[in-house]
Amino acid sequence: MRYDTVIIGGGLAALLCGIELARSGKKAAIVTTGHSTLHFSSGSFGLYNGAEPLKAAEALAPSHPYSKLGEGMEQLAAKATEILNVAGIATVGNAEANHYIMTPTGALRQCWLSIEGMVTSADGKSFDFSDALILSPEGFLDFYTQFIADSFKRAGVTTTQSVFSLPELTIRRNNPTEMRSVTVARALDKEENILALASIITREAKDTQTVIMPAVLGFERTDVLSRLEKITGKQILTVATLPPSVEGIKVERALCKTFERMGGVIFNGHTATHYSMEEGAVATITTSKGVTLAANEFVLASGSFIGGGLQALRSGVAEVLFGADVAAPAVVELTNRDLFESQPFMSVGIEVDEQFKVLIAGKSVENLYGCGAVLSGYNPVKEGCGAGVAMLTALKVAENIINR
């Protein structure tokens, strides 16, 4: 099978790159093992920590992926937002100034974009409501409402806490591992359950106009929150739960659908295992299911260690498919003993040139581009830039391929 571009990886970077290529008329294919790290998403997207992320990104080291974007960072950020919106993911926020999203432990963390309908704060201190009901499914252990209540209390918001159950969830709970985010979300895909929940909200909220819930409102359906708001007349906001992240899965699904709608093809459940080269360029890749794909360009968006793009061996770090050059940190140790200190392995990744072409044995491969978490030179957790690097480098690679 022959494509214009084959993308290896199925996460945020791969999908954005794919969508951008597909909508510019390229015949693109994505090869993905399956669940991407979007399943652990917080429901928000970070560009860079600090009040003004674009300004903060100007002062980065040349090895940072952002430093290779050139002048166009602002435009790329706008394009990323636009693609999310095209995919039906409504977002809040902009690249000029960060806002804050409430985390599952009630912390307020800076972010660039957040999914509409989640609890956010413009200044990280206050909210535009003074009282709220926190409503969570009974027996749902992945969302601790007291964290949320205490966080609101610090911001001067009075809250009451309540739990709800639905006959379907009561049955589910007989299996001791069933009360997880996805189970609840799936139950809320059903109209009868939405109606039942709406009447519970009306009854429990009384005069309170704002209701805070874990982000489990619908799995297939994306209109559950707005349906509930419409029926109850209340403002409903959500906070991310512990994984699996329903919001992250919905983003993944929306982006996949958009890519396919624009003509892209997804080889799901395929791990790219082999490749062939011709005249210094990648000619084909072959997947674990024996499918060989030829293309003019290849994009390596296979992620870091979790994603499976990188592998830490006892002898060092390797890029799994091509054995591409890996930029290891100056220090010998991959880890810091303190989990909450900067972890050196976070910045480990492959080396790319100024055009994001992947280096193998010190030489840029003419038609192989790298983007997203497989790249080196940044710490997504400490810099709050994981999503930003994924999306912006993906769009830059797409731009480079289109202009090729």
Partner: protein, 537 residues
Amino acid sequence: MNEFDVIIVGGGATGAGVARDCALRGIRALLIERDDIATGATGRNHGLLHSGARYAVNDRESAEECIKENMILRRIAAHCVEDTGGLFITLPEDSLEFQAKFIESCLAAGISAEAIDPKLAIAMEPSVNPTLIGAVKVPDGSVDPFRLTAANILDARLHGAKVLTYTKVDELIIESGRVVGVKTTNTLSGEKGEYRAAITVNACGIWGRDLAAKAGVTINMLPAKGALLVFGHRVNNVVINRCRKPADADILVPGDSITVIGTTSSKVPFDQCDNMYVTPEEVELLLREGSMLAPALNHTRILRAYAGVRPLVASDDDPSGRSVSRGIVVLDHATRDGVEGFITITGGKLMTYRLMAEWTVDLICKKLNIDAKCTTAEALLPGSSKDKSTEDCTRTAVAQSRGKASAFYRHGTNAEKIDSSTAAKRALVCECEQVSVGEVEYAVEQLGVNNLVDLRRRTRMGMGTCQGELCACRAAAVMASVGKSCSDKVKADLKGFVTERWKGMSPVAWGDTLREGELLSWLYDGVCDLSNNGKEE
């Protein structure tokens, strides 16, 4: 009431054993532990129920003690022990002559030791190195040191002993050359305390040197670090030892859902005893030697690395400190140093904790003129029962729920006290180790759990493949709702727990363990933003 007959300092297996023995003999005892129970050497070893075979050739006395205690523990602590059996294997580079001597020494010490065909050994334990040229079957097993210590503490309390964890001894109260009590600080609340007793027992392991110093007594101790690795699944079902002179990393012990290889042995300075890190060299050695026992270790995921400190005591008659006593050391400081009311119990091993306690309490009885016989070799620990074997209980419980079956495995008959009457109580907090909400509540209410790390020691929550990644948050919430803690305290606890997990993961962070580490960092530093906890105001 701050008056006791005996104060025991140290909540390891030995201290817990002394407290229980005192309580069973009607002696009013107070146990003081600066951290949680089983946090020192007790919880940082193989969890091997030694048959004594390892010591048979070089240390007959230890071997005899081990086999006797082995048989006693199988009876009194059935729910803490697993009868896995053990093999001592001879590899091509080892001498079969040693095997002959080994069997002879075992038999002389009362340890059954039967040479078997290497092919039979492979059939018994398929993970064993297939190149073996000899194998001897011995009655080794595995023992859960956390459960064992908790059961001793539970029984001590049932019989009237008082137990204070997170309580540090600031000073010994000395009046006219006699230790008459201790002054303490609660490390959680800062609250000061003063307790008096006719006798104070130093059961602090390697930290016993410092307590003795508070009485002006010198004990020449040598901290010997032993590092171990935990593998991600139960590679072997039978304990595998190397049939040679005891050396590094020559014991592979299965326990619960994992396998442990160890140990190394190296001298460390005293100031490192509180914070042990496993070095890359130790990891290398453990893997190299371990894979000689079971080659599968080379490609089995390593969950974590940990290390403990053996409290080796230099013989009193050797001023150079080189001659080390490996056996049980009971020091009556009245006769040794002229300090009345103060006893040190140290040396020994986890296997002999009960015997160490017996000797100590015999001495206490002598000093206090109490005529009471030791019954700890016969009296079953709570959780073990003559009528119901743990296996029977587990089998019945499996029909009801996996979580309940695991609970019986962990708590023996005490698992009956765990509420599993509703879906809410049966819901699983930790899926790797099948710990239910009811079990968490039971541990918090009945087993003296103060934080998530304590909870892990009582239930194995967070000890499985994911190392507490998702269950920690759930358990924190359940604990908070039982204990009504404020959320800042819960978050600090959560942060402490994942920090502790990572401490053991980072020395072996490659392959899937690094992936797990990346997720751990993403979740707790990223998604949850716990690193900024407490900085919000």
